[in-house]
């Protein structure tokens, strides 16, 4: 479905990703793991079309993504829920969600998607007329995820979706991720919560200093001694 | 100070360089440019006639959109171009900034148009003004009210209600102040004295205020934009003075009729004389006047207005009757001597002026006592001379001014 090969990404003159190759197959949950500053966000942003300076190949369903601007990728089904929420602070929760369904295909399904999101995240229904900017940190995170779902993604990329969420919600989110997958959406997940991520993911890649150093099935990764020591702290 | 230019013994054919400072950009660009063009036309005609003592004249043009630039440009002309004589600047604010620079450098400054009295009242030795100042303009306005309008309106000057409105810049303020003090001297009833910004986009309140006091005569010192705006709004709100007098600038420009059409008719303008009765001119001046009108028509497609006459006449006289008498045109002291020596009778310049500069001991040192203002009137969308009689080419009409609903019928 998504294939990234030999990807190099730069910020100005600084290279942040080095020859990264990953693949996501339809219906999978793939986890990207790594310490702070490893380049996880950069990878997702590049797939979403947000970084300017990169080379390598990226293909989506066999089609090259080279010349496709970010907003088109959304219509193609590549949707990113960005790090740090990035809501529209002076719009209500409802308006934020509606904007999630901006692309044409999603717009048609808007009402149904809304219902689905409110069912999944009832707290948002309670707060639907509040300005997004005045929500608590965790509530904002929920809006961000909900907004991503509104776009009817084929591939949903989640950048640290549980950051700042209470344990109860964290659990719900991981549950949600599995539910989303069941509804036919492929998921690319960046998480610091490695244990739980690897429990829901099928496969994983470990990024270190901008390079993929380890990859494999979740079980393999969970057994990998390096990972156990360096990342899980066991 | 000895500068870069060709020094010791100038060749006969070397051009004489004169600095010319005018506002060519910014909000004063319209009149500034036209004034420069009129001065430049005089220069061209002089050069065609063989120049000054056989040497062609060259203007070094300098743009001064604001006072700082005026001072900087005066500095440049003097220090870099080495000029000994600067002409300009059309606007009082610029003249007041440029003249001191010339004075301090011992270079002659010769003003053609700017009106602020202050220019001649600072004890400068090298600063001359050939044109009419605010006092002359304001006095002419009030004289005209007293001598020509009051009788025609059959109102005693003491009973006459006068309103003065003026743009709040240096020009408007200075002119209005003179009108005010002259009017008070004559016992005229000053019922309103109001200033406003020339760039205003609305003057309805001013119109309404005037309507309240219902003046017989309104005297206005305005630029074009505000003059047009005021007249349009006066019509809308049906403000009907018995006479309306504009003081030079906006009211004296062809642009007024271009923008107002027939609605301009009947308005008086206190202006430097323009297109005067040829009878009032010397033979020579008459010929020159014809030439000027013709060439200006060719250039601009319209008749020259008062300020164009100021610039043309002043420049032409300078080049033909003053500089040739200077012991050296490369020496400002000699030019100054020649200016002070000049004694040209009235009627010798194409607008009827003569030249005689007040001496250094006079409080208005350097002011030309033979320049004066006259009254024109808009008739059939053209400006014609109506007062004083000697210069007049047409009769005074439309006194009292018909109310708007009856105008242009």
């Amino acid at each position: 479905m998504l294939k990234v090969e030999d990807l190099n990404v730069f910020y100005g003159d600084i290279q942040v990703l080095h020859e990264v190759s990953i693949e996501v197959r339809e219906g999978e949950i793939v986890a990207i793991l790594g310490v702070n500053a490893a380049g996880k966000t950069t990878l997702l942003n590049t797939i979403a079309g947000l970084t300017k300076k990169w080379n390598g190949t990226m293909t989506w369903m066999g089609q090259p993504l080279h010349r496709v601007p970010a907003f088109r990728r959304v219509e193609m089904g590549i949707v990113l829920v960005p790090e740090g929420r990035q809501l529209f602070p002076f719009m209500t929760v409802l308006e934020n969600l509606e904007l999630g369904a901006y692309s044409k295909a999603a717009r048609r399904e808007k009402e149904r998607s809304l219902e689905f999101v409110f069912q999944l995240l009832p707290k948002l229904y309670e707060r639907r007329h509040q300005l997004a900017g005045s929500l608590s940190g965790g509530e904002q995170q929920m809006v961000a995820i909900g907004r991503g779902l509104m776009a009817k993604p084929k591939l949903l990329m989640l950048d640290e979706p549980t950051l700042g969420l209470a344990p109860k919600i964290v659990h719900d989110v991981f549950q949600l991720i599995q539910d989303i997958r069941k509804s036919g959406v492929t998921i690319l997940l960046v998480e610091q919560n490695m244990h739980q991520s690897l429990q829901v993911a099928d496969r994983g890649y470990v990024l270190e200093n901008g390079r993929v150093t380890i990859s494999g099935s979740s079980e393999a990764l969970l057994r990998n001694p390096t990972i156990r020591e360096a990342y899980l702290g066991i | 100070d000895q500068s870069t230019g060709p020094s010791s013994s100038p060749e006969k054919k070397d051009p004489i360089k004169i600095g010319a400072i005018f506002p060519l950009s910014g909000s004063l660009a319209l009149l500034g440019t036209e004034s420069f063009e009129a001065a430049d036309l005089a220069r061209k005609i002089v050069n065609e006639q063989g120049g000054v003592n056989g040497r062609p004249v060259e203007f070094i043009k300098a743009d001064a959109p604001d006072a700082t630039a005026a001072a900087n440009e005066a500095n440049r002309l003097i220090s870099k171009e080495g000029v000994k004589l600067i002409i300009g600047t059309y606007a009082s604010g610029l003249a007041l900034a440029a003249a001191p620079v010339a004075e301090r450098n011992g270079v002659v400054y010769y003003e053609l148009i700017a009106s602020s009295d202050k220019l001649n009242q600072q004890g400068f030795r090298y600063v001359f003004r050939v044109n009419d100042n605010s006092t002359k303009l304001g006095t002419a306005a009030v004289d005209f009210v007293e001598e020509a309008l009051a009788p025609r309106l059959q109102i005693e000057p003491e009973k006459l209600k006068l309103a003065v409105i003026f743009e709040d810049g240096a020009f408007g303020t200075a002119a209005a102040e003179i009108v005010k003090s002259r009017a008070l001297q004559s016992g005229i009833n000053l019922v309103a004295y109001e200033n406003y910004k020339a760039t205003s986009v609305d003057l309805s309140s001013l119109v309404l205020k005037l309507k309240e006091v219902n003046p017989d005569v309104i005297i206005a010192a305005s630029y074009v934009n505000d003059a047009v705006l005021f007249q349009k709004q006066a019509k809308q709100y049906d403000l009907n003075p018995k006479a309306f007098i504009g003081i030079t600038a906006g009211y004296g420009l062809p642009d007024l009729a271009e923008n107002l059409g027939k609605d301009a008719n009947g308005i008086f303008v206190v202006e430097a004389p323009a297109m005067v009765n040829p009878e009032a001119l010397t033979e020579e001046a008459r010929k020159l006047d014809e030439e000027f009108r013709k060439r200006w028509q060719e250039m601009k497609g319209r008749d020259p207005a008062g300020h164009a006459y100021r610039a043309f006449s002043g420049t032409y006289a300078l080049l033909t009757q003053i500089l040739p008498n200077a012991a050296s045109v490369e020496d400002s002291e000699a030019i100054r001597e020649a200016l002070l020596k000049a004694d040209i009778p009235e009627g010798s310049l194409p607008n009827g002026w003569g030249i005689k500069f007040l001496p250094e001991i006079d409080p208005n040192a350097g002011l030309n006592e033979r320049s004066f203002a006259a009254i024109q009137q808009w008739q059939d969308e053209k400006l014609v001379m109506v007062w004083p009689e000697k210069l007049a080419t047409a009769e005074i009409k439309d006194v009292p001014l018909p109310p708007w609903k009856d105008r242009n019928k």
Binding site: L50, V74, L87 | D202, L229, N259
Partner: protein, 290 residues
């Protein structure tokens, strides 16, 4: 009695300010591009109206269908060449890019038209309707009416259409807007162009009333900023109400304090409002800090 006339005159004048301010509120208020060329866009529109009138004898009210279109295209051009490159940059960078642009526009016109004052003369330029003791200028009434309609349409557009929401979303977070599938560049271009077209409409409606000259933009720019901030950034009804207030303040203070002081009156009000209610009369609290 005078007060009644002054108020009516002020409201009509405010209608004209509103037209200029509504365009600016879209560009500055909604998109947060500090646009110092807005006055010059009005100036360009006025010259275009003048040219159409001089060259083809077109009545300004017919130009109403042409000039805004032309301004729309000019807006697209300005956006693509300059503004797009300063979007998201600090305000000071935007201010100076547009200040430079403004110098270019007004001086290009100066170089071409030589600073002469130009106006069109229509039969209705000075027409008035008299209701009791109150005079109402006909062109002013037309301008006011169109301004009210435009304000309403624009308000509904921003509030309820998807495009309108996309515009607001883009202001609040460009990256997220992109991630929603919004073509951010196009949104900016559209907004700037619509704002410019509105300046064009204002210009056409001004032309029967006021002469134009190259530096006239300055006169309108500051008023427009005052109105936009007073009404509340990005608030369309705010722009209308703010303009009416400024219009009335202007006529009333000009009458009682003298025309020379009238601007002082609205600057004082402007400062007071900003201090006591930084979000403006209709603005979203805190939104002014975006």
């Amino acid at each position: 009695m005078v007060l009644l006339q002054l108020t009516v005159s002020g409201i009509l004048l405010g209608g004209i300010y509103a037209l200029i301010a509504v365009g600016l509120t879209l560009i500055f208020g909604v998109m947060r591009i500090v646009n110092f060329t807005h006055g010059d866009l009005v100036m360009l529109g006025m010259y275009l109206t003048y040219l159409l009138y001089k060259g083809f004898g077109l009545d300004p009210y017919i130009s109403l269908f042409i000039v805004p279109l032309a301004l729309f295209l000019i807006g697209v051009l300005i956006q693509k060449l300059v503004v797009q490159r300063v979007v998201g940059r600090p305000h000071e960078v935007q201010i100076f890019a547009t200040v430079g642009l403004s110098m270019m526009l007004s001086n290009a016109v100066l170089a071409y038209f030589k600073g002469d004052y130009r106006s069109v003369q229509t039969t209705y330029s000075t027409d008035t309707i008299q209701i009791g003791p109150v005079f109402l200028g006909v062109p002013q009434i037309v301008a006011f009416g169109i301004s009210a309609v435009i304000t309403l349409v624009l308000f509904l557009f921003l509030k309820f259409t998807y495009t309108g929401k996309a515009i607001r979303a883009t202001t609040q977070n460009r990256i997220s807007a992109t991630l929603m599938g919004i073509d951010v560049r196009r949104v900016y271009t559209m907004t700037f162009a619509i704002g410019s077209a509105l300046a064009g409409i204002a210009a056409v409606l001004l032309m029967p009333l006021y002469p134009t000259y190259p530096s006239i933009g300055e006169a309108y720019l500051l008023i427009a900023f005052v109105v936009v901030v007073l009404g509340g950034l990005g608030s369309i009804p705010g722009a209308l109400v703010g303009a009416l207030i400024i219009g009335v303040v202007e006529t009333v203070s000009a009458y009682y304090l003298g025309s020379g002081w009238k601007q002082a009156a609205y600057f004082v009000i402007f400062i007071l409002v900003l201090i006591m209610r930084p979000q403006g009369l209709f603005g979203q609290r805190g939104a002014e800090q975006l």
